[in-house]
Symmetry: C2
Subunit: 174 residues, 2 copies
Amino acid sequence: MRRIVVVLVVGVALAGVIASMAPVSGQADGEAAPIFGVTIPPGYRDWRLISVAHEKGNLNDLRAILGNDVAIKASREGTLPYPDGTIIARLAWSYDPLEESEKAFGRLQSFVAGPPKNGVQFMVKDARKYTATGGWGFAQFNDGKPADEAVHNTCFACHETVKARDFVFNRYAP
Amino acid sequence: MRRIVVVLVVGVALAGVIASMAPVSGQADGEAAPIFGVTIPPGYRDWRLISVAHEKGNLNDLRAILGNDVAIKASREGTLPYPDGTIIARLAWSYDPLEESEKAFGRLQSFVAGPPKNGVQFMVKDARKYTATGGWGFAQFNDGKPADEAVHNTCFACHETVKARDFVFNRYAP
């Protein structure tokens, strides 16, 4: 009986490890982005929400920031710098009027996520690998394909604006 | 050895069941909302993202729609009506300018989630329990406390606008 209990505990622990590894797996999934060599993290669309935003101007999108387990923990606890293993995903969609908004509210006031827009971006923390860019690797994928090198050269310059927050614009939305 | 393998498999399966139960637990957490008796679902902030939105007008917020496992599956597959056990959560935050936006983009164009605003709302599907309201129970909590009955009387009337989509405004954002 004791052996069964021990093995059960090992089994449960093992399953827990497998479950917790799944969303932070660094397994390659498709082509790597230039400069930083980041690939699309498997299962990122299942990650938990850090925050949401609306970009006006040329971007004109609604966006969500998701994080892997390391990112969520650091983000909730306000840990700076973010630990190695952090991956932050930025998804974005067209900023579309909700068709039924006027009927529901008496005027058009609701804007919702339409089709994907402006690609999907990732920030991957590896302090030793990415020393020249604050410990972060950056990547953008458009329709699953890496954007070109010119795009990737713009990432760090913009994120330097928030160097005091370890180069991360978003804050956790409780 | 064979016994160990069997027990291991049982252990792993058991851990999987426990893990998958956690986010859809209906365990009561705090005071129930009027009319529908809905309580705050434990762990809802860890649920996966369905979509995001921006409400202008008096609401003036940025919002995220999260779903429990039943909701995510139905939402991704376009299942209508949503199955019993579906819970959809609507979180909202103040629509705030991002302080560093002008520095990063040359003009203020980024708006992000500030402090929580307009409460947290839930839709709970139980076709037999909520026959009078399309099979949905509605709830709003402000700072963790249920809103009053008058607020809850407005939910279904507004959601009837989207009766053709089983009373759900949001669509899954891929």
